[in-house]
Subunit: 413 residues, 2 copies
């Protein structure tokens, strides 16, 4: 099917979805979960073929691990759909409302975007996840996955569409977009058919979509996240947060990538921190000041402070004071999550006010910047742009609003 036909079918389905009740949408999500588990054999067989092809082409183990499905992972995908059914429906929420002096009443009401395009990499679980979030928020989804997961995605999509149909909703509400790279270009050019594009994946993918798209984009994020240990920091607390933010799950966007230590704290903090990091298997890439505390610290190239390692590596520097820390962050931040550990109220206030990022944290691990940890129950990604949504994006962020204006014949003077 051509992309244009697919997008028009999605637009038609979006009209039905926009006025579907929560009960109907939740029934569809439960049915999608059932169909997904019913199709386990077919989905795992298709996935095995994707994995075999990836192995034959020399794909790294880390990528193959993302690609591989197991009965447990499929179960988690089904659970995710059921959890979505339990969340409140953002559509129809009245954001605000008032009555004008002339008696005209105005309500601002949440409505779905319409058609949402999601472009993502080789993670077949995103197919179910993104389809579910889109459906719950009343949007039709056009899912553009990686060619390396095509067999898995096709098998998953068959099951999801059966579930949608089971609930009496149009199955074109969820569609896989297949084809070569030119199809991605078509998606990015489809103003008027696609209402918003969300790229999920590495920096290269995201930049290509942001730069090439005529359709509005929500940029989800790379995270070059910093931790600043202030002179007044409780150093036990700083050490806990440092290790948690770096080590607990290094491959994700809210993991720590750079440690900045106030010069006054460095002599007491860095020896302990570097030893603990080494014990945890972290390779530190530091400035000369950092290296003076440990021979195990590798020299950091200047461009290393712009790197999102996503691994057990950490850049580290000693800074003169709070101003220098804020200045370093301004220069290198990707605007995701930035943390200060301090006991000084003025320092905390200034850090919060002057650091420009989706999230700023005081005395807590950046790993909390996440839709699940925020209690949102679902997350389509973490926005690092300032327009529309910034930070973890959940169901309300998948909607727009509409003003409903009602009168009794009033006209403007």
């Amino acid at each position: 099917m051509t992309f244009d036909r697919r997008a028009r079918a999605a637009k038609g389905a979006a009209r039905t979805l926009a006025t579907a009740s929560r009960a109907t949408k939740d029934a569809a999500l439960h049915a999608m979960a059932v169909r997904l588990l019913d199709a386990q054999e077919a989905i795992l067989a298709a996935n095995a073929a994707d994995v075999a092809a990836a192995e034959a082409s020399g794909t790294t183990r880390a990528l193959i691990d993302r690609l591989r499905l197991t009965p447990e992972r499929l179960g988690a995908m089904a659970d995710g759909l059921r959890q979505l059914a339990g969340l409140p429906d953002p559509v129809g929420d009245v954001v605000r409302g008032w009555t004008n002096p002339n008696g005209v009443s105005v309500r601002q009401v949440r409505v779905p975007f319409g058609v949402v395009g999601i472009i993502y990499e080789a993670r077949p679980n995103v197919t179910a996840d993104a389809a579910g979030i889109a459906l719950k928020s009343g949007n039709a989804a056009l899912l553009r996955g990686s060619s390396s997961t095509l067999a898995s995605n096709r098998a998953i999509m068959v099951a999801l569409r059966e579930g949608v149909a089971d609930a009496g909703l149009p199955e074109d509400a969820v569609q896989l977009v297949e084809g070569d790279r030119s199809v991605t270009a078509e998606m990015m050019a489809a103003r008027g058919l696609v209402d918003v594009l969300i790229p999920r994946g590495g920096a290269g993918l995201i930049n290509a979509v942001v730069e090439g798209s005529k359709v509005p984009v929500i940029e989800t994020g790379t995270g070059n996240c910093h931790l600043f240990v202030d002179a007044s920091a409780d150093q036990d607390m700083a050490l806990d947060i440092l290790l948690n933010a770096k080590v607990q799950r290094p491959s994700v966007c809210n993991a720590l990538e750079t440690l900045l230590v106030h010069a006054d704290a460095a002599p007491t903090f860095l020896p302990r921190a570097l030893a603990a990091l080494a014990d945890a298997g972290v390779t530190v890439h530091g400035t000369d000041a950092v290296r003076s505390y440990s021979d195990a610290v590798l020299p950091a190239r200047e461009d290393e402070f712009d790197e999102e390692y996503l691994s057990l590596d950490l850049a580290a520097a000693v800074v003169d004071d709070l101003d220098a820390a804020i200045e370093h962050i301004r220069e290198h931040t990707t605007g995701h999550s930035e943390t200060i550990v301090t006991s000084d109220l003025v320092a905390a206030d200034r850090f919060v006010a002057e650091v420009d990022a989706a999230a700023v944290l005081v005395n807590a691990s950046s790993r909390f910047v996440d839709g699940g940890e925020f209690g949102f129950g679902a997350e389509i990604g973490i926005s690092t742009q300032k327009l529309h949504a910034r930070g973890p994006m959940a169901l309300p962020e998948m909607t727009s609003t509409k003003y409903v204006v009602t009168g009794r014949g009033q006209t403007r003077a």
Copy 2:
């Protein structure tokens, strides 16, 4: 000055503005108003030169009227700045906040975008207006006006920057972007320096910015606004709303462009409506069904239903029923403001739910879809896109948010 230097200066100024108190920003707005009136002689002289050049080059009277400044118009610009000073500051507003089970507290707080670029046509009043709205919302403004108003804009900008400096804020908070068309392209490419671009003007300008920009854009709107007179409409009310929406100010985006009449209402409504429209000087371009009621109705070409006349012209058609009206609107809407006049609750509900636009109106004139009429006190434009802001955009729509996460050393399990 190169655009890059200007944008960097704006970014520096934006950091100061972001933490400026409301009192300081309001003082700047009052000082800008004073400086504008003090500079009346210089501004009017510069404007006279722009007007003379426009007249010599054969510019239309309507455009020259937009371009021309008078002491009254300058006074209105100053009043606009003072009114902004009276409005609440959106920056620092806590949108929501909660404490997670682990004791970590989260607040979502409004923050400025940073640097806002505004690209607009030959209306020198927009220079003061946009600079004021940007400043009040804590944003630095890069204003790209039309070359035909350059002398006026330069004189206005001198005064505005003096006012900004009077309050102790950096004068690079408001800047005029000069140069040939290549500068507009630089603005659209300045990801990382410019946080958001807002084009204000005709459809050609807006499309060029939306299609060409790598910086996120808020699309402000063309309005092909429809009025549907339902079978059950109170026809006196429908006539009032029709005339008000079409005639009260035909050159603006929330004015009516297309009339759709239910077939059952046509025999009684159209003769009265066509006579009243003719009396008001409106030229109606109708389908054959409409023309059967009056010889004065011109034949409507099919593409006329996509036209935003912005003049005393109106397209008109008779439709079989509500479904046909909704279908017609879906095909031709620009997503601005769509109106139904009806006494039927089911028809009103369906129209509100099924018509996809920034505003849907029941029994009220579309001329109410306006920041001033909504009581917002200021308006930077009316968004017809679904991302970030939809409908009239005021001070809160000129901000982003930031999550502030505070703990006592919590880490993620």
